[in-house]
Symmetry: C2
Subunit: 366 residues, 2 copies
């Protein structure tokens, strides 16, 4: 192959597709970005066999063909070029020669016939969602996924696609985040599990905005087709936890509080035992006051936040990191903390039913 | 002791003095910040026995006294408070109680009598330098210091204080950076060696500007007295290399080039062997052209830069990292590269004599 394209377009396209390169380097061929030059287009493609990203750019194709080029080197070189023309010369199939102004990079290429072939995703079933809603929902839940290899289903984000809304859920077994968003449904009614890395990269590649995107869903894959960029991810085939049955719906202690005040107080309390693995903050809820207490080797912190209370007084303990994570993700000024007993899961919510965080308490003494 | 001060002043002061806390934690008492409340002032002090930073803030002193408070915890807590008043209550000498709005932190304190005492630095000899000149000179040389414990003198930055100028020099034995800056001298004529950590922190604490600072110099210490902030650093007592004799002054190959073009070319060339320990770039200087070549496992890069040449053609090899480091530090549009032979040190300079970089070449084949 031999093509001429714009430096900045090549650079931008490479920076996107390399997001699909494997993090662990144990399969040399997957380190490559596959280039396919046909007609007036060069297609760039990379995959770690779970996530695949494809991006097309316009080019003057002098000789059609395909090559697999070491991806990170190619992308790093492309970062250093600007809008001038760049020539990709693969006349010798073992070596791509990249010419840009007075600069010339020769890269040894990888064998094209060893590169995996991805089948096209069926576009029969899909749902349509606002870009900004999708991005926001992912940001609100993604930090709750598990890192534990022993529980593969919890390493994914669950998309529960319903008639006119989608529930997006993530959990690590100790906490759970759920968001609900309106969609337009084209024949999908199921729960699917998307690997969290794919979900993160998908969210990054979607630009914020009022436009919609279409998510195509088939048995083992989903696919999103953005402007000249196609993202495909394999789904996790495990069964997800039956989360609907875990989330309590009635409470005996309901606290209404200013989110920023609670966040500041928990952050200060967290300082005292930040080096401990399971740092705990004790909440003492009584009348119009939430007292927070945390203790560590160097001393202790006490915080007082004025609240509204409906129901009974309660003392309950929480993992400080979990509390801080979810408070950071909340962008509403007022929250409610909803409890039954000091051993049952508590729920943090806003005014709407659009999102909630569930956290299992820790045992506290006194 | 018991004092009331402004939250933001306390926070700002702590963020400065903690820069002097030891990086390695092998002496518990040095983890502390010493507070001294006298008159209408609280003095905060921290040291790793090499660098010491002292900062005074205004306070309403209810009970005079002194305490040593775990520094990082205290500083992190102070980061989370704002302009409202904060009370520091050390009525119980083992424990400082910090009250801020509805927040209360109790910290176990360290024994005051174990804290080291620093003597005052003599202010008889000093030099005066423009803040911005001093900051710029440090930034231009500091990355050249050695990390090698076996050569303690090269871990320092050399200040060669002359009649009306100062030479600031750093070297790791393979490269050397030198800057010359005007000063007003009050009786110092010597070479001193400042530990690089102290030099870095000193540079950070000096605000950029056209004002001057006074650097007091005595046998084993230097001291800088900024507005309510005093910085003292111990000097390295080793002999420094006789750098004046290493720097060549006459050359047989002098290349004039656009700095940005050379920098871009070297950066691109560096990509191909970036994972190698001693990455080398070969420079082939001939007539009006500088050809750069770098090779690695994945291929090779060739770059061509148009130059002006006075003198003989030359082929010379350099450590790419050294070249990039010094090109990044240069903020002039035109540079000269000055050589004699392919085995003698080369000098990179600007139009003035205010700074220069010396780099030892690597052997190249062909």
């Amino acid at each position: 192959m031999k093509v001429i394209c714009q430096g900045n377009e090549l650079s931008d396209a490479l920076s996107k597709v390399v997001k699909a390169l494997p993090i662990r380097r144990n399969n040399l061929i997957l380190e490559g970005v596959k280039l396919t030059a046909v007609g007036d287009t060069v297609t760039l493609f990379a995959t770690d066999l779970e996530l695949a990203i494809e991006k097309k750019i316009n080019a003057q194709v002098l000789i059609e063909g395909e090559m697999v080029v070491p991806g990170r080197l190619f992308a790093d070189y492309a970062k250093k070029i600007e809008e001038e023309e760049v020539e990709l010369d693969g006349t010798n199939p073992n070596r791509l020669v990249i010419k840009y102004l007075d600069s010339e990079l020769q890269i040894k290429c990888l064998p094209v016939d060893e590169y995996p072939i991805f089948k096209e995703v069926d576009t029969e079933q899909s749902f349509v969602i606002l870009k900004k809603d999708f991005k926001e929902a992912i940001a609100k839940v993604i930090f709750n996924v598990s890192q534990d290899e022993a529980r593969p289903s919890l390493k994914g984000v669950c998309l529960n696609i319903k008639d006119d809304e989608i529930e997006i859920v993530a959990s690590d077994g100790f906490r759970l985040a759920l968001t609900r968003t309106m969609i337009k449904n084209n024949g999908v009614l199921k729960k699917i599990l998307v690997p969290s890395k794919s979900m993160t990269e998908l969210s990054r590649l979607i630009e914020d905005g009022e436009e919609t995107i279409t998510v195509y869903v088939e048995k083992s894959y989903i696919m999103v087709d953005l402007f000249h960029t196609k993202i495909v991810t394999r789904l996790i085939s495990e069964e997800y936890i039956n989360y609907e049955h875990i989330i309590p719906v009635s409470f005996t202690t309901v606290v209404t509080a200013d989110k920023k005040l609670v966040e500041n107080a928990v952050e200060r309390a967290a300082l005292i035992n930040r080096t401990e693995k399971k740092a705990i903050v004790k909440m003492d809820i009584k009348e119009d006051t939430l007292l927070l207490n945390a203790q560590g080797e160097d001393g202790e912190v006490n915080e007082r936040v004025t609240i509204g209370l409906q129901g009974k007084d309660l003392i309950i303990g929480y993992n400080t990191k979990y509390l801080i994570d979810c408070l950071h993700a909340i962008d509403e000024p007022v929250i409610t903390l909803n409890f039954t007993t000091s051993t049952a899961p508590g729920i943090i919510k806003g005014e709407s039913d659009k999102w909630l965080y569930l956290i299992l308490p820790l045992r506290v003494i006194g």
